[in-house]
Symmetry: C2
Subunit: 239 residues, 2 copies
């Protein structure tokens, strides 16, 4: 992945299949009138660029996306990671303030802006998403402003453990044996680094440290087995 400092260009239009029924992933208010189109992205495809005209909002039905911003010299900061149920694309202005890129293959529900304005149900759901994102951003602000590299990585890992790091966790995942969980990162080391405000080398080193301490086991690059959830949790700086 080259770190181009591009901008402009827009949605890579894909198969806009009119899909069956609203998936039951919504924790909130059952069905949300499945009038809209669906949109599919493959991994690392860009949905929209910062500065593009904003005319629709999206709900992640499946897969993982990220929002990021670039500085002119190429430094990147991932500002948000979106998973099933999360919404993206809302803005105060008529342009997007971040670039949205798929981390994995992604399925999206597409809503027109006016569609949101007319549906109170949808509006309510969008609002819930906004508030939940805001809260998460507050938490992430603390991470970036005040936590050590080890604390950042530990916090990141905990956020992937179902029912431990808030709502935003990776898929179904196994919650069988206590203190023995597997999490799927869905991000490269570089993406994790750009999310946690670190370098790729530091992320790698911290993961190695945790491995050496026996707290985690790296199954695949992308998949980490957390041997000791409590141990990791102690390292987040929050306990």
């Amino acid at each position: 992945m080259e770190r181009v400092i591009a901008s402009g260009s827009c949605v890579a239009d894909g198969a806009a299949s009119l899909t069956e029924l609203d998936n039951e992933m919504h924790r909130e208010s059952g069905s949300k009138s499945s009038s809209g189109r669906k949109h599919r992205l493959s991994a690392h495809e860009v949905l929209f660029y910062e500065g593009d005209r904003a005319d629709r909002i999206y709900e992640v039905l499946d897969g993982v996306m990220m929002l990021y911003k670039l500085l002119p010299d190429g430094r990147r900061q991932v500002v948000y990671v979106l998973r099933a149920g999360d919404m993206l694309g809302f803005t105060n202005h008529d342009t997007f303030d971040c670039t949205a890129e798929a981390l994995t293959a992604v399925e999206l529900q597409v809503y027109e802006t006016r569609e949101v304005a007319t549906s109170p149900l949808l509006q309510h759901y969008v609002n819930r998403c906004l508030l939940s994102q805001m809260e998460h951003l507050h938490e992430h602000t603390v991470l970036l402003g005040r936590k050590s590299a080890m604390e950042r990585v530990a916090t990141f890992l905990m956020s992937l453990v179902p029912d431990r790091g808030g709502a935003n966790c990776a898929g179904p995942a196994n919650r069988d044996a206590p203190d023995m969980r597997s999490v799927v990162l869905s991000m490269t080391r570089q993406e994790i680094a750009d999310y946690l405000g670190l370098t790729i080398e530091t992320v790698s080193r911290v993961i190695s440290q945790l491995k050496r301490k026996g707290l985690i086991k790296v199954e695949k690059q992308d998949s980490i087995h957390i041997q000791n959830v409590c141990g990791i949790c102690q390292l987040t700086g929050m306990h």
Copy 2:
């Protein structure tokens, strides 16, 4: 100011005077039915603590407030600075996720949660605020994750220059001679440090550097004369 790691306790109830008319500071949709109460805080008074039950939301009519979070060991991160027109207190849950403290004397408009639910006008305004805060948090995330100390302070100063750092700037302020502006910080060095993810010493040193370079002049502790807006702007990392 001692850095207590307290929590609990609640709103220091003050003079809930029923005030005249809606102030005309609202850029949005003229009058917002001035049914509500007003609330006044003096500098460094806490409006609510993280974890307190959330039952009302507030609009800053005058003065400056901050939202912050504490880690158990006392590290603090200021996650947002609120000025006239900004709203605070909305949450996904029934508790606040941050502590809200006045940086200066503050006047607030108080809205009951149900009040917001019933007024479409108010709801619309709250939404605009949410989106604008979100956008600002994204920008601040980049600052905390990727910018140097110098870039952080320069960005902070620019945010206080009217019509240069987005909406969130200090009061009316003078926009007379080009390239000659005075900004009021409304924050101590410690508060700035906790906002920018730095230490008080680093903030002080960077300000001294800017002083030596002749880009700024410190009038009072709290008030900085920006001699060369372009110069500071070049240092934000965004140009």
